[in-house]
Point group: C2
Chain length 584, copies 2
Amino acid sequence: MHRTHTCGELRISHTGQQVTLSGWVQRSRDKGSMLWIDLRDRYGITQLFFAESDTHPQLMELARSAGREYVLKATGQVIERVSKNPQIPTGDIEIKVEKLEVLNASQTPPFTIEDQSDGGDDLRMQWRYLDLRRNPLRNNLMLRHRIGIETRKYLDSLGFLEVETPYLIKSTPEGARDFVVPSRMNPGQFYALPQSPQTFKQILMVAGYDRYYQIVRCFRDEDLRADRQPEFTQIDCEMAFVEQEDILNTFEGMVRHLFKTVKGIELDTVPRMTYDEAMRRFGCDKPDLRFGMEFQDLTAAMQGKGFGVFDQAQVVLGIVVPGCAGYTRKQLDELTEWVKRPQIGAKGLVYALCQPDGSFKSSVDKFYSPDQWKAIAGQATAAPGDLMLILSGDDLSTRRQLSELRLLMGSRLGLRAPENFKPLWVVDFPLVEWNEEAQRWFAMHHPFTAPKPEHFSYLGTDPGLARANAYDFVLNGVEIGGGSIRIHDRTIQSQMFALLGFTPEEAKKQFGFLLNAFEYGAPPHGGIAFGFDRLCALFGGQESIRDFIAFPKNNSGRDMMIDAPSTLDQHQLTELNIALTNPS
Amino acid sequence: MHRTHTCGELRISHTGQQVTLSGWVQRSRDKGSMLWIDLRDRYGITQLFFAESDTHPQLMELARSAGREYVLKATGQVIERVSKNPQIPTGDIEIKVEKLEVLNASQTPPFTIEDQSDGGDDLRMQWRYLDLRRNPLRNNLMLRHRIGIETRKYLDSLGFLEVETPYLIKSTPEGARDFVVPSRMNPGQFYALPQSPQTFKQILMVAGYDRYYQIVRCFRDEDLRADRQPEFTQIDCEMAFVEQEDILNTFEGMVRHLFKTVKGIELDTVPRMTYDEAMRRFGCDKPDLRFGMEFQDLTAAMQGKGFGVFDQAQVVLGIVVPGCAGYTRKQLDELTEWVKRPQIGAKGLVYALCQPDGSFKSSVDKFYSPDQWKAIAGQATAAPGDLMLILSGDDLSTRRQLSELRLLMGSRLGLRAPENFKPLWVVDFPLVEWNEEAQRWFAMHHPFTAPKPEHFSYLGTDPGLARANAYDFVLNGVEIGGGSIRIHDRTIQSQMFALLGFTPEEAKKQFGFLLNAFEYGAPPHGGIAFGFDRLCALFGGQESIRDFIAFPKNNSGRDMMIDAPSTLDQHQLTELNIALTNPS
């Protein structure tokens, strides 16, 4: 071992001991006859001290030659520091170095290895091994490790078995696009990488494993955004002989265990809200409950007063932004432009400033009398000093747009503190949703989700009305978990595939093994999957997952450090029985 | 929850309690007015009891209708059994059923769900969910879960961080064949699935993570054998600032921890043997130490006595098989045929029966006098009653052949009991080995393994002499772990690539990021990887890994349950910019 202690370990009680440390040069201070080096490893920083008057004349020279990020091995005595540094746990001591070895030199890094780096995104991705040396990233990955350990500890204690499911599986056209893998031994055939182990975990329930989990990689070949990676990690779980209530309790327990052990936070009972209620109150199926600004339905109150835009709208919905009556025309114009951006897509924004004196000032003053405003504000429970923001249009679009605006205002008012955790179960999701483009029903969760037993009859008549025993775990406006009670009956599963537009032949080709399995004693079962990357990011107080993944890909799906993907040799293509149709 | 207890939980102390159980029908016994059903779940079997005289007339009929593998939910009172079954933990009680629900019916399974199944391999693979219901497979997967949990517990306690490395990486021509994944977003380019996270774990050491591990899937597109799967799992580990001794101690500790916690076995200190010694004494770099039969070098003793075959051989090597002097001519002929099979490839087998009366009977009697045999037997420490088996030829082939014969004889004599665990470290592996066909040196472990510092000079002169700080962990003749101290210096790594026939351009294209990383403060580091599937199989007392993997593939790389790989739709190929050259 190239050390007796780590760089985070030594305290005043070690004074007088002979020690050896190894680590990286964080910085050095050269005062001519004396020189200090901050030596860094994963565990901390310890100060090395070199004095000219030493019996080792070359020592000082060697120490002076060690630039930033050099790897050093230093032996010497632990001594008490003259000027202590209370900021770091090792700040009471330093090492009076007697022997120094340069284990490896370093070129000057392209950016600084500090909490706030001067490297841009591309540079940091390309030199990921240097970026990973920075405290914030190391803390993120240590947090991720801890959450993984505690997740397994909790699930193991409840008798869940971690069972590894295969990564080389079969491509299915339903859902997102698959990554595929040509099979050399089966020419013309391909494996697919799993988008999730869904069918395998159901098979494990049929096989009697009762309680399954896996922290598992999943793959989706979709166009990428900031918070989406082609490969991502799930905490994937399934239980047999359970009902929805059992799953909600078990996994609320898991989240509570993680908060307690990892963050030291005792979580309250997690509230529950139906999908319909979430859409009504927050216009969104993953409401951020850290702040209010609930939707106010002003349709009845504001229609029929001569304002054509509202009169023609399906709904008129508003939110009350507390204490913002002082917003300037410029600020309000900026909000209007914001909601009119293509990403939001509103046609316009109506505002009403509830003045401290009880009067109102709005963008549609000519259609509404002061008394009418008073009634509207009263219904919306807007108080003097508040700002009302109102959108109108068709129900679904308006809710989506106002939800975005609500989140923006929440952020602007500082109501979305990362360390204020507000979890929520959203339940009773619709079973299917209609896709205009494809002119067919799509599964809202996935094709294996069971309709509520009392809604079976809707399948043949009005599938859109059917609700499922499907649930999402939402934390601070982010969906971090989702699951459902599954179908375990072959007839219902076949009906479901038919509803989703599968011919019996297609269903058999894609999912024949599952339909078959349902004929050999499938128990009632259900499960859930948590997005591990997102869970870690939220625990770390961030929304972006990228710095909670050791080696993420950029928005073009490239690993910039190793420069992948890359071209293959022709003989590899030949062996795989494939050719490029569009060679680059 | 569809149960109050599991089928493995109820004891005599529960007598009188009202309970609900759910599970599968293992078997039923119908005595007309009384009927018993063994209800099975993951946790055990509990007997259900139905009596005709009940107040529920349809109950008996329903119970009678439930065939093998039906899923039942039964409610009733726990009663003491008249005839107890001491074989099972629940054997003192049964449930007097008052309410019964068939949760799901089952067709008759294609094979029996018993410890010894009547299903053949293909049938069992195709109906894997039924095979997985059998006790032996369930016990295997539960054992695997337990080993995984204890591995993480041990490594976590030593400060190892589990860091997930990417599955979509870059194809490298060195080593085995890669599985590749076409990139839709980068036309003409491909990801590769990792054969191991080797370079990433080294990068993590450069990034200062100090101690890394991962239980991780690896992929190799190689022709398959019984004990090889296209995807397999490794316990992958790396440490910084360590020397070989630190790694051996740390992972000997891990194996000891696993034996203690999982098997209740206190392991002795693991002996060590150099590669050269293992080859000399056992003809193999993973000797099975459960029995002796060490190699006896009889070259000097048996050459020059007129037997041409031996005289022309590079070596004459024998083993002494204890107590087998009674082998018949037929048995000896069968052994001769066995070593002459193409898989072994010996030209012939010389035997000598050391008769109880002190005389010898051999297949080459005319070349050796009784006194000469006596001397030979003396040198080989063969006693009266033993059988000497002797092979000759070139050194490497003869050792390999005799090693196979040794293992065969060990098995035949019952000296290889699965539950007798004999671990071993094999150390000081050669750095490279010459490949006649390719006419170049290949890395014995991998291209990142460091030569022993005192052997640097061989690289330029006689690379075959260079030994590496590389080590294998061997258990009962199976290599379950292997690793090395790595190169952390760019110059040596470049030299190594050159020795392996990489041009500087190739090295840069494949491993440029690693060579670059070595210029920014790479610490000394080393690691090891354990084959998780094999480790689990050995702990389970078996040599085949297939039944320790939930969903294995067959020897054609097919998952027979889901019928993968399979063909793709043309539009998928078009999107991926590839075409089939050999459509099936």
